[in-house]
């Protein structure tokens, strides 16, 4: 399992802050996202938005990044701090 977190506008639109997702060896961030969309068809549009960012274990990664059980993933909109 990986823990997936959502932040800010994305969290509000999905009405979900955290979700557990089963992963198999060799799977990538893209597979986790596909699994989430399969489980929650209503999330498709939000999760496929071009500007959604992803972090694995607190570091920015792209969709090809491999994931392993125990990883923490996060999806969020472009950042707006400062």
């Amino acid at each position: 399992m990986v823990k997936v977190k959502f932040f800010a506008a994305l969290r509000e639109r999905l009405q979900c802050a955290e979700h557990s997702v089963p992963v198999h060896a060799g799977e990538s961030v893209a597979a986790v996202r596909a699994w989430l969309i399969e489980q929650h068809p209503g999330w498709r549009h939000e999760l496929l938005e071009k500007d959604v960012l992803c972090a694995k274990n607190f570091v920015f990664v792209d969709l090809q990044e491999p994931v392993s059980s125990g990883d923490e993933l996060a999806f969020f909109p472009p950042v707006t701090g400062g």
């Binding site: 932040f7 472009p78 950042v79 707006t80 701090g81 400062g82």
Partner: protein
Amino acid sequence: MKPVIRVQQHDFSVAEEYQRLTQASNCGAVVTFSGLVRELADTELEAMTLEHYPGMTEQVLAGLVEQARQRWQLGDVTLIHRVGRLTLNEQIVFVGVAAPHRKAAFAAAMFIMDYLKTQAPFWKQEHTAEGSYWVAAKDSDQQAAQNWQEDL
């Protein structure tokens, strides 16, 4: 010198942070940047809420400061970002850089702010009389961060 990096709800004191930055005796230049909650031209802003990604935020901020240190000869560096609900005129962010030379102090402070704006996981939600809105990311901030890469 270990940089001071803090993510906090409570306010900070520019006076105290400036004092600390001037302790080291070999830095003739100190640059500070402070960002404040201000009324925008087109909305009646009452307050904002700053959300962040605990755990990742601190790591990204430390990385930004480390990158600045690798580019320029710096003394003490302080980076503070507030989270939670902030009302009009409150302080949001502080970057303080001490350096032997002014050029490095200015460049590092700008670099840290430009990268923070595009890489640190903070999100602003503005509260106005008409409702609450998540702030949209600005292309100009993306551009500012990219300019530093061309600089390499």
